[in-house]
Symmetry: C2
Subunit: 256 residues, 2 copies
């Protein structure tokens, strides 16, 4: 059975989209069938995978509102084992439109039921908030991966995030576990980065991936070409690290 | 009369909080009375100004729900002309709690009426979304400052942001203008940064500040000491640049 992993953190700019796009591409390179679901109204994942947003007719919004089934909105990408449910333009309005709708937090979970049999990995890219779109993703997921930037402000929101995950486990999705914590934008030249790494390892004892993503300019350049980093510059440090992460994610899954 | 400036961009991690904390400190250094309002449930501004969140009893949440007046929640900071309305813990729940409440987008605007006579500058730090908290800030503000990171993904959301500002001008706050666009985390060594600067200057013709904030490690270290950068390392490039920005903001205001 396929695994559904939500990539979430309400702190902005910590590398959620970069992780979903690049981890997905590396898992597909390992031969896995992978589905990416862009639950962020900004639609960065959609662009990062080279899909022109002007071509997108239907996506996550239509699935949440029950106007389309999953198979109606899945798009192919330039890579054979990598598929995408894009963020369509209306997604920004979904939170308000779903107010008062019964079972509004579990609409994505129901729609993704069929994904488990078709894809070995489904990755959900969340917006930088703990609102309805992120709740839908946490309710739909088997596990949540938390990217944390090696910066001071990034430590602040961890308490709120952990509280939200516990609430989701109690009320919406008892089987949700923390898949792992991924340290991103590490810069070994600064004491700050080293302090944050130590602090996060203490806070999330045993859950932190061995793979640490360094700051690497190739990772920030690749999206402007609509390419995951392994297809933009396969020999870069950014490409190596996300391949390492993909292997670690596969191994952790088998161990469970 | 005092000016109210919202600092907003739904893209995460672009330097909204860093700009509010440091611009506020530099305006106070120029002798202005400055109020910072932390409208982001993460509460990074509160911490960045050295205020212990455990000490915070009431803040923006209580003002929005009408449980407290502005003068009841303003806190002093370590700097005499710099004041703060902190983000209290309950702020994360405000968006849901205000659903169905009449005039819910203009509650901050009404509460800040009195701020104009007491402070020459009121800066509003927004969360990374276009939800109710950001709408309240745009409805309350005279102008909006948009920090834009010199990265590819940061360009994507500009259309949605401009659309939201136009909607607010039509429905909530006709006098709202774009104060200016601030380019942040510029790294002159990468082509990407240079391309983004050119693109933004084309898109926001005439609205882009001359001051461009470079990537500077002092800016990311200062928050861990609860200090604005001018009080952490006054001779750093980060301190120089935000002093430059403060002078530019004051001059633009006089010109209007
Ligand atoms: N390891 C890295 N090295 C260099 N740049 C990076 C790295 N990871 C991400 N970036 C860049 O940093 C910016 C923020 O990353 P990204 O957009 O993936 O974060 P996010 O958490 O998805 O943001 P948001 O909260 O807005 O959704 C992007 O411009 C991205 O290209
Ligand atoms: N010019 C800069 N140079 C280096 N680091 C910076 C700079 N500006 C901001 N930072 C750091 O980058 C991170 C993101 O900045 P900040 O938190 O101010 O952005 P934000 O837009 O407020 O984020 P959010 O969307 O989560 O509210 C922070 O850790 C901050 O310390
Ligand atoms: Mg993202
Ligand atoms: Mg912020």
């Amino acid at each position: 059975m396929g695994r559904i992993i939500a990539v979430a953190n309400q702190k902005g700019g910590v590398g959620k989209t970069t992780t979903v796009v690049n981890l997905a591409a590396c898992l597909a390179e390992l031969g896995e069938q992978v589905l990416v679901v862009d639950v962020d109204p900004q639609g960065n994942c959609t662009t990062g995978l080279g899909v022109d947003k002007m071509r997108v007719r239907r996506g996550v919004y239509e699935v949440l509102l029950g106007e389309a089934k999953l198979r109606d909105v899945v798009m192919s990408t330039a890579w054979s084992k990598l598929w995408l449910v894009p963020a369509s333009a209306d997604l920004a309005g979904a939170e308000v439109e779903l107010v008062g709708v019964p079972d509004r937090e579990r609409r994505l979970a129901r729609a993704l039921e069929s994904a488990r049999t078709m894809y070995s990995y489904t990755l959900l890219d969340c917006p930088p908030s703990l609102g309805l779109l992120t709740l839908n993703s946490l309710a739909a997921a088997d596990s949540v991966m938390v990217p944390i930037q090696c910066e001071y402000y990034a430590l602040e929101g961890l308490g709120q995030l952990v509280k939200t995950i516990k609430l989701v486990q109690q009320k919406l999705n008892p089987k949700l576990v923390v898949e792992g914590v991924l340290l991103t934008m590490f810069d070994g030249r600064t004491n700050l980065s080293i302090q944050v790494v130590e602090e996060v390892k203490r806070y999330f004892r045993g859950k932190v991936y061995k793979t640490i993503v360094p700051r690497n300019v190739r990772l920030s350049e690749a999206p402007s070409f609509g390419l995951p980093v392994i297809h933009y510059d396969g020999r870069s440090r950014g490409a190596e690290v996300y391949r390492e992460l993909a292997r670690e994610v596969v191994e952790r899954g088998q161990a469970r």
